[in-house]
Amino acid sequence: MTTATADLATASKRDETPARRAWRRLLRRRSAVFGLAVVVLFIAIALAAPLIAPFDPVQTSWSAIRKAPSAEHLFGTDEIGRDVLSRVVWGARASLLAGVVSVAISLAFGLPIGLLAGYAGGWVDGLISRITDAMLACPFLILAIALAAFLGPSLTNAMIAIGISATPIFIRLTRAQVLSVKVEEYVEAARALGSSHLNIVLRHILPNIVPPLIVQATLAIAAAVIAEASLSFLGLGQQPPAPSWGSMLNTAKNYIDNAPWMAIWPGLSIFLLVLSFNLLGDGLRDALDPRQG
């Protein structure tokens, strides 16, 4: 390429916003595209559940207990005669909610606290950091189990428990980002110009720390879906008769030999959803990384 055309090429690339550049880079990675597509698909399934589920997910039938997949029940029936396909479709809601709401809670607490710790420094930072270290030193699942047991077994409480247990990760990440951005020239300039602290944080610091948070949040959703399944294994997640893939797996493990379809479909769904979030998160990390032009 001649220097002229090279300049033109780089110039047009320079004109696009960071968001568009990231989007373009994301689409270049096939695994990330796959992940995004699957996530969107599951969200669509979850939203359209009332329309696409062939049966009522809690409708029992004494005569159709643990029936193998057939034309009527494409995924078979479970231990008290409910249609597995309908439960998988409706379960998408619970599992997606578990993932998204937990992370939303972590961000809602973690982001402001991390901002405070990173920006304020001093004893405030010291106190917050020690408490965060303490929470991180306790095994995540143990914290979640204790919290869920304390609040009582239910999907909502499981989400709160997972959200709170994952908060320290976001506090730490936010704080680290704030610390590195705080010393940038534009922040110092803003301070010299007399901007209020709140202004600086919201207008200068926050937008620059968003990319790694997005990546972490996406990966955390994947971990949260698994965490809900784990809590359900111990009886602390979504309670019957409402479906969630984790609690379906928990029941299904007792019937692996005589009714494997009860486990295959929710297991496959969790695997696909979590894998997709992981692939998407990895892709986002690549796309948003300023070092890789």
Partner: protein, 313 residues
């Protein structure tokens, strides 16, 4: 360096205090009267009263915390009221098991994760990259209790190659021990392999596009030698420190994996104690593992500093 070390050591104390408060309140605030739970199905009132007194349950929460704290600093972590056994003895019993499981899991994670990360970085955006990604990620994407049961059904029941569950001490039979540990270690190591893969990959990518490697390539040195010698060596440091951190997490006990495979380690001990309201066990073991985790963190950070002279400035 010594100033840094001293500063870090000082921060350990308040962190541990917070850990103790956190785990103590999480336990003691759990609903249900532990004396009733521990008294068993007969619920003999005299037993309930006896346990009440032993647990100081009639005293306010802060007082109970101080009783416990006093025990901790004198080396008495209390005892399991369900098994009438001192917590320290239980820790002594379970530590080798958990350590061994953690070590083997780390080994498996390294064997899977690092090559996957290297392949993914070197053959970026090709089928190899994609495949390595999925291989490393599939462990992170499946609930480990699920993977465990699948493995048991396949390798133990169908094929009969490995024992379904349980633990054999290496002193009793090394082969039996390894046979019993391989599946649970694999389940645990899988998830960590993914994290290792990610870090290896990004560290490798960083180094591969650096001036150092480009120069070496320009000089005409063999591509593979360049990769292995320079890139890997530089990427190793963050991997080692990360490895130490994940090891710390493993030490806390692979809660569900131990449950499924009936490995008598910390994870199983803690979970059962939570459900049985056996407070002292949870408090003691979590405090122990949290301390180990914090110390490992410190060691990892120091190693990172030691390996990177540039950061010491």
């Amino acid at each position: 360096m010594t100033a840094y070390l001293a500063r870090r050591l000082l921060t350990i104390v308040p962190t541990l205090v917070f850990v103790s408060i956190l785990i103590f309140s999480l336990q003691q605030l759990l609903p249900g009267d532990p004396a009733v739970v521990l008294a068993g199905e007969d619920r003999d009132p005299s037993v309930v009263a006896y346990l009440h007194a032993k647990l100081h349950l009639d005293e306010p929460l802060p007082v109970r915390y101080l009783y416990w704290l006093r025990g901790v600093v004198t080396g008495d972590l209390g005892e399991s009221l369900r098994m009438q056994k001192p917590v320290l003895a239980l820790i002594e019993e379970k530590l080798p098991v958990t350590l061994e499981l953690a070590l083997i899991a780390m080994l498996i994670a390294l064997i899977i994760g690092i090559p996957a990360g290297i392949i993914s970085a070197v053959k970026r955006n090709t089928v190899w990259d994609y495949a390595a990604n999925v291989v490393a990620l599939w462990g992170l994407s499946t609930p480990n209790f699920w993977l465990g049961i699948m493995l048991i059904l396949f390798f133990s029941v169908s094929l009969g190659w490995l024992p379904a569950s349980g633990y054999v001490s290496p002193f009793e039979s090394l082969r039996g021990n390894l046979a019993a540990m391989i599946m649970p270690a694999f389940v645990l190591g899988n998830a960590i392999a993914a994290v290792l893969m990610r870090h290896t990959r990004s560290a490798m990518l960083q180094v591969l596009s650096s001036d150092y490697v480009r120069t070496a390539r320009a000089k005409g040195l063999d591509e593979r030698k360049v990769v292995l010698k320079h890139a890997l060596r530089n990427a190793l440091t963050p991997i080692i420190t990360l490895g130490a951190l994940e090891f710390g997490t493993l030490l806390s006990g692979a809660v569900l994996t131990e449950q499924v495979f009936t490995i008598p380690g910390f994870g199983k001990l803690i979970v059962d104690a939570v459900f049985n309201r056996d407070y002292a066990v949870v408090q003691g073991v979590v405090l122990f593992t949290a301390t180990a985790y914090i110390v490992l963190n410190l060691v990892a950070d120091l190693a990172y500093f030691a390996a990177n002279p540039r950061l010491r400035a």
